[in-house]
């Protein structure tokens, strides 16, 4: 199994690592028994995501997709952020090995879970956003 240079770069030197004290929304997806947990923190002002960070337990692909997804979401409006798909994250990393494709799905879900948390806390509705499912994914 082979990771691209981009994946290794984001794995060895991940961007946006850390908890965010004053996060507007926090989303956690995955579980330890399946091997990956992602927690995404978003800071949102005037409908714009001004900062993003993460903590991830998981394989190289899980860490790299978290790093890339948080990079991609920064500076975007909520509506723009809703358009960040797992495919887009994967493409930005120059691809993932097929057995690791689920990691990018997890990144998309973590972003949306953080947006959901923000919407709940502020009592707003984000068009197209659904309540995160209780996570029970299998490889």
């Amino acid at each position: 199994m082979e990771y691209t240079e981009k994946v290794m770069e984001h794995f060895m030197n991940p961007k946006n690592v850390g908890e965010m004290e004053d996060a507007s929304g926090i989303g956690t997806v995955g579980n330890a028994s399946c091997g990956d947990i992602m927690r995404v923190f978003l800071k949102i002002e005037n409908d714009v995501i001004i900062d993003a960070s993460f903590k991830t337990f998981g394989c190289g692909a899980a860490v790299a997709t978290s790093s890339m997804a948080t990079e991609m979401v920064k500076g975007k409006t909520i509506q723009e952020a809703m358009l960040i798909t797992n495919k887009a994250v994967m493409e930005a990393l120059d691809g993932l090995p097929p057995v690791k494709a689920h990691c990018s799905t997890l990144a998309e879900e973590a972003l949306q879970a953080a947006l959901w948390d923000y919407a709940q806390k502020n009592d707003i509705v984000i068009p197209g956003l659904e309540e995160p499912k209780e996570h029970d994914h299998h490889h």
Binding site: S33, G35, K55, T56, G60
Partner: protein, 389 residues
């Protein structure tokens, strides 16, 4: 600089083995079954190799059969022993910590209608001989228990198990692929009927192994065709491989006491230093394990990410975890030992060998400590733990 800690996966070829192989990779390419001088030389080399392998495990040369790999030997043992006793029964007993070569073969046969009892192991990975006794049924025709486990290095009480199988008249197979050449193995002291080995685990070439079969054991061939190996394993012999295997095993056997004690010292040092990293657990037995095997789980981090970190710093190790191996199941060995999924995902195996030095261990510990620290900084589980206090 590269630091190799994956000798349980495979070992480099011993220069003496290569030297012994060279004539059969170059000038003498004769088929040992032919009737001219070079072929007779090749035949003689095989005979000598058979004696060397027999001698290393306390067997008779007629009880040694060369095969294409440890996996083939495992498959042959299972299929061959079952088929030879078809009329007697179709139930087998294996441990829950077998190598895939045995485990997947038995799972396959189970789907075909055979009965399989999987013996549980305790938290250190040991099979209890009494559990073997309890699992025997009137239709049991095979017991297979791995001698030394490839993931956690646990060495099973084969002698106590063989006393039970012998009294019950049931053939006992052991996968000794990780043991032979590393710890003293004597087929009579162990009392096993069939024993599988593989050359590339003891500095021999890849793609060659051997099966010990005690005289009188009911077992049919797996491969049929030519009359090689006295009709029990067809196929033109890999003369170079056979000679390389025998040479490597002879060298390993000569050095076994000194090398085992040297590696045990390094192993224990590595275990102690790794356990001084907080939230680290040793998987397997502290003492009754292979001299070169260390298997640990670091809480809050996942195995593959640690392996990648180590790899980027020139350290090669391995894991049995779901993500890295491409296998989609967590380690069946650690799971059978009752270890949680989270910790099986974080398990790493370091296996030491001939070229491992004390210096390597010191550097490895430094690199692992740093990498574990960095990955824990990334881990939401570590955060959660710290908050709970």
């Amino acid at each position: 600089m590269s630091m190799y800690f994956d000798y349980a996966a495979t070992t480099p070829l011993h220069p003496k083995a290569l030297e012994a192989m060279m004539p059969f990779l170059t000038d003498n390419f004769a088929n040992p079954s032919s009737a001219y001088t070079p072929a007779r030389e090749a035949r003689k080399a095989i005979d000598a190799a058979r004696k060397q392998v027999a001698c290393a495990i306390g067997a008779q040369p007629e009880e040694i059969f060369f095969v294409g790999s440890g996996t083939e030997a495992d498959n042959w043992a299972i299929y061959g022993i079952l088929e030879a006793q078809k009329k007697k029964g179709n139930h087998m007993i294996i441990s829950a910590v077998e190598h895939h070569g045995v485990l997947y073969t038995c799972r396959h046969l189970e789907k075909q209608g055979y009965g399989v009892t999987y013996l549980p192991v305790d938290s250190e990975g040991f099979v209890s001989p009494e559990a073997v006794r309890g699992a025997i049924q009137p239709d049991t025709v095979l017991v297979s228990v791995i001698l030394a486990n490839n993931e956690v290095g646990t060495i099973q009480p084969l002698k106590a198990i063989s006393e039970i199988t012998k009294a019950a008249g049931i053939p006992l197979h052991t996968d000794a692929v990780q043991a032979v050449g590393h710890i003293p193995v004597d087929v009579n002291a162990l009392g096993v009927d069939v024993l599988s080995m593989s050359a590339h685990k003891f500095y021999g070439p890849k793609g060659i192994g051997a099966q010990y079969i005690r005289k009188g054991t009911p077992i049919l061939p797996l491969l049929r065709g030519g009359a090689q190996e006295r009709g029990r394993r067809a196929g033109t012999e890999d003369v170079a491989g056979i000679v390389g295997m025998a040479t490597a095993l002879t060298v390993a056997t000569k050095e076994i006491a000194a090398e085992a004690s040297r590696l045990t010292g390094l192993r224990d040092r590595l275990i102690n230093e790794l356990l001084s990293i907080p939230h680290t657990r040793l998987n397997g037995s502290r003492d009754n394990r292979l001299p070169g095997n260390v298997n640990v789980s670091f809480s809050f981090i996942e195995g593959e990410s640690l392996l990648l970190h180590l790899d980027m710093q020139g350290c090669q190790a391995s894991t049995g975890s779901a993500c890295s191996s491409g296998a989609l199941e967590p380690s069946h060995v650690l799971t059978a030992m009752g270890i949680s999924h989270e910790l099986t995902n974080g398990a790493i195996r370091f296996s030491l060998g001939r070229d491992t030095t004390e210096d390597d261990i010191i550097k490895l510990v430094e690199i692992v400590t740093k990498s574990v620290g960095r990955l824990r900084e990334l881990s939401p589980l570590y955060d959660d733990y710290l908050k709970k206090g």
